[in-house]
């Protein structure tokens, strides 16, 4: 028996369960993993270095492309860091809009995760269900920003524009009957807030549907219960945040513990797991879907009742409206300076973090007083979680590696940056 040795297996980077471009070098003893060495960086674009070569506002779009499943949350951390440095207080309505879209993003991200994770470990239908609802939220993105994924909607000083009063509607086509078109357009007949209200009314039942497919499913439980267990102490030491930390039973959520914007005025709960395994993290994320739904409803109610500005009026930071530029010399100058040079940010540094769907997404921003960041560091939750993969999969079977990768909810846009 002494000739039998461990053998090394290359996993990815084009494996469908590698969630993008993860390359794993697995050392196996039979089917049991002895060591996993992730090779990352295949999607490294040097976002941080690129941001150092551009005025502050031109890098907002790069933030979307970091974690491309939770776009607006990344933008949120970036603009928050700039606002902290500038000392800007943004209008209340903009704060509510940001929080609402953060939660829309959270639902989008968790739906993407749930669908993909389901596919990875053998549940096909849930993917179709998830993407059905995710489509509506992408429409909401499109309605405010014109883009379905990479919104660039948040700006230092607020959000790019107010919520629209109408939504694009489906046009008649030979692939859909008139009845189906009318059905699709029914929810889209009012304002964006009406559309989201309708979505939140439906969504709780949708989550119930996902749960009927998975929560008590014997196969699902066999694949996830007691897989990739992380103790609370270990989770803290490994720098876990977000659902991965809460799945291990640590009560920690930046929205509650270090509230930003208007999270301290909202009523929502933080779900916490018990066992720290894949199943706990699944349950935490499912409950977060419901809680995010609650938050969106509260934001809708407030936003309906309180119209107002969504951007600060300081044209040293925010470009003036087009119409103002037509007749006002000073607005034209402001616009020209902002577009050709941008604004300078005072000397100093800050760390701004938001509770992104995957965990703490932080921006460390250093400025030397120039119109470009001196150093920008994106603290991506997925990067930290992936670094713990080796520890989590040791002793598990090869098939469980896929379950653990799925449960970590990694997206390579942010891991590689």
């Amino acid at each position: 028996m002494s000739e039998i040795q461990n053998f090394t297996l290359n996993f990815g980077p084009q494996h469908p369960a590698a969630h993008g471009v993860l390359r794993l070098i697995l050392e196996l003893d039979g089917e049991v993993v002895q060591k996993a060495d992730p090779h990352i960086g295949l999607l490294h674009r040097g976002t941080e270095k690129l941001a150092e070569s551009k005025p502050f506002n031109q890098s907002i779009g790069y933030m979307d492309r970091l974690d491309y499943c939770s776009m607006m949350c990344n933008e949120h951390a970036y603009v928050m860091a700039i606002e902290k440095m500038l000392g800007v207080q943004i209008p209340e309505r903009a704060q509510y809009i940001r929080v609402m879209f953060d939660e829309i993003t959270r639902i989008m991200n968790h739906l993407m995760w749930l669908g993909a994770h389901g596919l990875d470990i053998g549940a096909m239908t849930v993917f179709l269900y998830c993407f059905r609802e995710r489509e509506d939220l992408i429409d909401a993105y499109e309605a405010v920003s014109g883009s379905r994924m990479h919104a660039t909607y948040y700006r230092p000083g607020g959000v790019a524009r107010d919520l629209p009063d109408s939504l694009p509607k489906y046009a008649p086509s030979k692939f859909r009957s008139k009845r189906n078109i009318d059905l699709l357009n029914e929810a889209r007949s009012g304002s964006l807030l009406d559309f989201l209200q309708d979505f939140t009314d439906r969504f709780t039942k949708c989550v119930d549907e996902y749960e009927t497919l998975l929560t008590d499913n014997r196969i699902w439980k066999q694949r996830t219960v007691n897989i990739g267990v992380v103790t609370p102490e270990r989770a803290k030491a490994l720098g876990f945040t977000g659902p991965c930390l809460r799945g291990s039973g640590v009560v920690w959520d930046l929205r509650k513990h270090q509230p930003y914007d208007i999270y301290d005025r909202l009523d929502f709960d933080i779900p916490v797991g018990v066992n720290g395994d894949c199943y706990s993290r699944y349950l935490v994320r499912i409950e977060e879907l419901r809680q995010s739904n609650r938050i969106i409803r509260q934001c809708i109610t407030w936003l309906r009742a309180n119209p107002g500005p969504v951007l600060v009026a300081d044209h040293k930071i925010v470009p003036p409206r087009r119409v103002e530029m037509k007749g006002d010399m000073e607005s034209l100058i402001h616009h020209f300076k902002l577009m050709t040079e941008g604004y300078t940010v005072p000397v100093g540094e800050t760390y701004a973090a938001v509770e992104a769907p995957k965990g703490e997404f932080g921006i460390w921003l250093v400025s030397d007083g120039a119109n470009k960041p001196y150093r920008l560091k994106c603290r991506a939750p997925g990067f930290v979680h992936l670094s713990a993969l080796d520890e989590m999969v040791r002793g598990h079977m090869l098939a469980d590696v896929v379950a653990v990768i799925g449960t970590l909810d990694i997206v390579f846009g942010e891991v590689d940056r």
Binding site: Q58, M80, T344, W364, G369, V384
Partner: protein
């Protein structure tokens, strides 16, 4: 930047308590750095780093259980601007390709060029702390590794090694992380050009991907300028809050 002023008072006093504890415990080993409101930053020298970090983790008054972020920084071109606008500018900034340097060369070498910043988080006390540690020698810059204190620092230090070339002493597995296999150089250093040194393309004759020197000419579209903005002058804006 906290939304409600009544709440802003509570964490501030908590932060002041933490600062007092830190200064009482470590004395001269920590040097307070300027930071925004609600943030606390200290500088520590490499020789004290491990001892200080261990206490920060284990002492219940600090209880920084997690290193939430560790990142390198290169101060080579700090304060450098591509277009001097200090006096009324008589020269414009040419946005064309001609005559632009791809790499910034400082007039005199910087004594303290590389630093590592540690962002610590205490879940128990709900507090954050930033430590900065300037690296020892010029080349290669070295700093002790904190992986033994916080396992989460492992990949962060590998990243800083890869991108800045900072050596972390006693790191268990200091390999490149983000750059290509066989990559040469440390791309986030300020003297590394944005376009890099090599580009790749598929060569049909050789039937494989080949590396070649970059053909892109460096070009700055928006110059880096530093303006002395009165709005950020503390003496002038003393009585004013916000923007």
């Amino acid at each position: 930047m906290s939304a409600v002023s009544t709440e802003a008072a509570a964490p501030l006093s908590k932060m002041a308590t933490l600062a007092a504890h830190l200064e009482a415990t470590f004395g001269a080993r920590l040097t307070r750095l300027a930071a925004l409101d609600q943030e606390l930053a200290y500088e520590v020298v490499p020789t004290d780093l491990i001892a200080v970090c261990t206490v920060l983790r284990d002492d219940p008054r600090f209880a920084f259980e997690s290193a939430i972020d560790v990142s390198g920084i290169d101060y080579l071109s700090y304060g450098h601007q591509e277009w001097d606008t200090h006096d009324a500018t008589s020269t414009g900034f040419g946005r064309g390709v001609v005559g632009q340097d791809s790499v910034f060369v400082p007039p005199e070498p910087r004594a303290r060029r590389f630093a590592v910043a540690y962002h610590l988080l205490s879940y128990a006390n709900n507090q954050r702390l930033r430590l900065r540690c300037y690296c020892d020698t010029a080349e290669p810059p070295t700093v002790p590794s904190v992986v033994a204190v916080w396992p989460s620092a492992n990949w962060f230090e590998r990243e800083a090694f890869d991108l800045f070339g900072i050596l972390f002493q006693e790191h268990p597995d200091l390999r490149r992380l983000l750059t290509d296999y066989g990559f040469i150089g440390h791309p986030f250093r300020k003297d590394f050009p944005l376009s890099g040194h090599v580009e790749v393309r598929y060569d049909a004759e050789q039937g494989r991907v080949v590396y070649e020197p970059v053909s892109i000419e460096p070009r700055v579209l928006v110059p880096r300028v530093i303006r002395d903005d009165n709005r950020y002058d503390a003496a002038l804006t003393a009585g004013r809050s916000g923007n």
